[in-house]
Amino acid sequence: MNSSVAVQWKAVCKLDDVLPGTGVGVRLPGRQAALFRTRDGSLYALDNRDPFSQANVLSRGILGSLGDKRVVASPIYKQHFDLETGQCLEDEEVSLTVYPVQVEGDVIKLAIPA
């Protein structure tokens, strides 16, 4: 992370609100994120907007891995996005914003630009 950009940590939900292996949608000021919890408990957050369909649905994609990358598949046209980088695997010109995630106690927090 570029430390000169001020970020603000926003509490969004409890850990238990996200089943392992699934995702949820998160309302952020002026935007939507998709928050994922993989089967081993790691947390990731990306834009919720699917750039190929313009629908806010990525939180409903299926999680998995392709090679050594962890990915989510868009439920609309099935493109894959790297959970770590937001990069689309099928189209190198497309990538999503990645939101850092933190857990404090049992609360999940996302970082958004302040």
């Binding site: 993989t38 907007r49 806010n56 999680l63 891995s65 392709l66 090679g67 894959h80």
Partner: protein, 842 residues
């Protein structure tokens, strides 16, 4: 240069192939083409004629690609028979009184059935078996008859006998010779065939000649055989051989063979340079070829010759045949009778199993000259190749007729030379198949569509598959049907692992048999297999992350991220009250409403957080989920049948409801559609469904593996005249076998096309229980049915589950990005350009 006039007389199988070959070579640039067709229909598949009795329509049998005549600007005159050829004036006069000039003339008039000169052979209800018109007449006559008789026990006679049998007549075959199929098989083979056919309920009279046909007492006719011997019958079909239709040529004094047939040279040119003859009417070196493959070869050669290309010549043709007569495999290859001097035979015969095999071996003991197979013709392809390519026998000649032919190839497909003809109907060589494989063909279905191999009689399909497998392997294409990178198994293998290992969760499956974390391919597949095997509630926690969003939110995801709601309306029958509930719900939530092709109502535009409320209302009103979102049974469409329709012979709606209620919720490799029609008018279009049921006066006819959609496929008749119980039992087994063995996202149509052994094999497994798994399949189906639950009912009763129906985890509001426009009185999601306008307006 002005175009020349080309006239083709006869538009049968060979005539059509000639036209196709000619236009492919650019023949239209040099010739104006006119075709005279004596029949009311353009060329159709005469080889498949008998399937007209088992559900194929004249349209299905047509050989003419849609728009063919218009596209190539060829004039086709139906119902028009050539009466006279004037070779001096170069004209042809037709029965419609027209006179047409020609520069080149092609005769493809085929043959006509020979009717033995028996007094009384012209009585009513005496038929031949050659055209669709003939079959229509036979069908009409059999309606009020009880007994049917075929005169002639050759290949076509036995096909005709099968048809009469299928039409419900008590059937007899009267053959003059001492055995059936005298041309193709020997005495032992013929004897065994007779036994097998009699077992099926057809009475065979060999060494029997008919003296005359007179009025009968119990039936319409009496056929007198000899000394007080006679047979009473209502319908008679003559099938005593064919004769070349060479009348026209005789009258204009073209050279004709002693026993008929228009004499042609190696380019199919007759004694007049301007006239060609092709197909069954042509006589080459004193021989007539009564099969379609040599006719096709002649068509190609004659078309090339017309275009000035003379390399290809007709050099005779192999007359080997394989067919299934009344469920009995019969094949004859090369010198079946051992007429070659010095040849010896090795024979295997098992009368209990009804199998007879004979191989005719050359004097030196190294080559196969011919063979006869009755009851088990699995080795036909291999033996034919050995014989045609004059290959050295791989081992002991006796092995050729060894009792167990487990399909294990006698010689690998590898051993065949590139020139080996694999599909004789369509003249496809091994080299042609290899070229198609190089061009990207990966399945038997691909090869069929690009080379036509196995598209006609299907006799070559096992061999085509062997060539495909060995060639793919050679090219280093791992014939790999692994599901995805996480599981080195096919869907079928995963299914097996899950069942045998009693695996119930994805984590367990991945740990035991996979690697990585899974993906959007293997997770939903596993979920579907778990559901097929154990039928757990799909939203149980361990399964939640496996589901495609459709299954997760129990609705169909639409392009703007909202879902559609489709309650089950079994059989398409709905009470007015329930219809009103649907209307009220749609109105309340402003859902776009549309009637689906599956006879139910689709409500579009429901947001995730609205789904539980909508469904609560629906469930309270007695609706259940329609599983429109799942790879599972969709709908069982029905016509109104005997409930109201004046033609209905059975209660199609009742049966559709019963079937839909039985299989609702059944998870499968892909969606399954079904339909039930109340009579053969087929208003429910059952023959385009995975499972189609059609009522007849005698019971239900079951069709399988049809498809609409992207690759339409006409369903195959699977079983006839079933009772209600038989129908259900057969569908139980069929569906469960499909679920067990199909690949991911493989509809039944593609599954069948890739199933080794095809329809016959499927019938053996399901109807004859050849694998002994019938009871198991039924038990597994029973489990699924017993554990059915409406997923929506379960969901709305489970607070935990309902919680998940939110767009935002941290906010109860709706997705604020949804924008709609109204069109034709309802709303739909705005397109990108409309969105921009909407935003500007705001």
């Amino acid at each position: 240069m002005a175009k020349q006039q080309l006239l083709l007389i006869g538009h049968g199988m060979v005539g059509q192939r000639y036209l196709e070959s000619l236009v492919a070579q650019g023949g239209r640039e040099h010739f104006d083409i006119t075709v005279l067709c004596a029949e009311p229909l353009p060329a159709y598949d005469r080889v498949g004629l008998t399937s007209y009795f088992t559900g194929k329509t004249a349209d299905d049998l047509s050989l003419v690609p849609e728009g063919f005549f218009a596209e190539h600007d060829i004039t086709l005159k139906l119902n028009t028979k050539a009466d006279v050829i004037d070779r001096v004036a170069r004209t042809v006069t037709t029965n419609t009184g027209e006179t047409l000039g020609y520069d080149k003339l092609v005769l493809a008039t085929g043959s006509y059935p020979f009717v033995p000169p028996i007094p009384g052979n012209d009585r009513d209800n005496c038929f031949v078996y050659r055209t669709i018109d003939d079959l229509d007449a036979i069908i009409a006559a059999s309606k009020d008859g009880k007994v049917g008789t075929v005169v002639g026990g050759g290949l076509l006679g036995l096909e005709a006998a099968k048809a009469l049998h299928d039409l419900g007549l008590q059937t007899h075959v009267v053959e003059f010779a001492p055995r059936l199929m005298a041309v193709q098989v020997d005495d032992f083979g013929g004897g065994l065939l007779k036994d097998k056919i009699q077992e099926l309920g057809v009475t065979v009279h060999t060494s029997t000649g008919t003296k005359d046909i007179v009025d009968g007492e119990s039936c319409k006719h009496r056929m007198n055989f000899g000394e007080d011997q006679y047979l009473e019958t209502d319908v008679i079909v003559f099938s005593a051989g064919i004769r070349p239709q060479d009348e026209l040529a005789r009258a204009c004094e073209l050279e004709i063979g002693e026993r008929g047939g228009i004499v042609v040279n190696n380019h199919c040119v007759t004694s007049d340079d301007s006239i060609y003859a092709i197909g069954e009417v042509a006589l080459w070196e004193g021989r007539i070829f009564g099969l379609v493959a040599p006719g096709y070869q002649m068509a190609e050669i004659a078309a090339e010759h017309l275009m000035g290309k003379c390399e290809q010549q007709f050099t005779g043709a192999d007359m080997s045949t394989k067919l299934k007569l009344m469920g009995v495999d019969v094949a004859s290859i090369g010198d079946a009778h051992g007429n070659t001097p010095g040849s010896r035979s090795t024979v295997f015969m098992d009368q209990t199993a009804g199998i007879y095999k004979k191989a005719v071996i050359s004097e030196c003991g190294k080559k196969l000259l011919g063979a006869v197979l009755v009851g088990d013709a699995n080795d036909y392809g291999n033996l034919l190749q050995l014989c045609l390519n004059e290959m050295d026998l791989p081992g002991d000649p006796a092995a050729l007729v060894a009792p167990v032919s487990d399909g294990a190839p006698l010689l690998g497909a590898d051993a065949l030379p590139d020139t080996a003809q694999i599909c004789s109907c369509n003249n496809v060589s091994k080299g042609d198949l290899c070229a198609a494989i190089d061009g990207g063909a990966m399945t038997v279905g691909d090869l069929k569509s690009c080379t036509k191999a196995s598209a006609t009689c299907g006799g070559c399909s096992a061999l085509v598959k062997q060539v495909l497998d060995s060639e793919l392997e050679k090219r280093g294409v791992e014939v790999n049907n692994h599901l995805c990178e996480h599981f080195p198994y096919s869907r079928q293998e995963i299914y097996h692992l899950v069942r045998v290992g009693q695996i119930t969760t994805f984590d367990e499956l991945l740990e035991k048999h996979g690697s990585g974390e899974g993906c959007d391919i293997c997770k939903p597949t596993a979920a579907s297999v778990f559901a097929s095997c154990w039928n757990d509630y799909v939203l149980n926690k361990p399964h939640a992350g496996l589901q495609d969003t459709n299954d997760y939110f129990l609705g169909n995801l639409q392009r703007d991220g909202t879902y559609s709601v489709v309650p089950r309306v079994a059989g398409g029958e709905i009470t007015p009250d329930k219809l009103i509930v649907l209307g009220e719900v749609a109105k309340k939530y402003d859902l776009y409403t549309k009637i689906t092709g599956g006879q139910r109502v689709d409500l579009f535009g429901a947001r995730v957080e609205q789904l539980p409320d909508i469904w609560r209302t629906l469930v309270d009103a007695g609706f259940e989920t329609g599983h429109a979102y799942g790879k599972s049974l969709r709908t069982v469409k029905s016509c109104v049948g005997s409930t109201w329709c004046r033609y209905g012979v059975k209660d199609s709606v009742g049966t559709a409801i019963q079937v839909e209620e039985r299989y609702k919720g059944l998870r499968s490799p892909h969606k399954i559609k079904m339909a039930v029609s109340g009579c053969t008018r087929e208003c429910a279009e059952a023959q385009s469904k995975d499972v189609g049921v059609i009522a007849t006066e005698k019971g239900w006819n079951l069709y399988v593996c049809g498809n609409g959609g992207m690759r339409p496929r006409h369903a195959d008749l699977f079983a006839s005249d079933l009772t209600d119980e038989e129908l259900i039992k057969t569908i139980d087994r069929f569906l469960m076998f499909y679920i067990k063995t199909a690949d991911r996202l493989q509809r039944t149509s593609v599954w069948l096309e890739n199933l080794e052994g095809g329809l016959d094999y499927l019938k053996q497994v399901i109807l004859e229980d050849s694998l002994g798994i019938g009871a198991e399949l039924e038990a597994e189906m029973a489990h699924v049915i017993d554990t059915y639950q409406c997923e929506w009912k379960t969901t709305i009763e489970d607070d935990e589950a309902v919680k998940r129906f939110k767009h935002f985890v941290n906010d109860d509001s709706a997705d604020d990005n949804l924008k709609y426009v109204r069109e034709r009185g309802q709303r739909r999601p705005a397109f990108e350009h409309e969105r921009i306008e909407l935003v500007e307006e705001a």
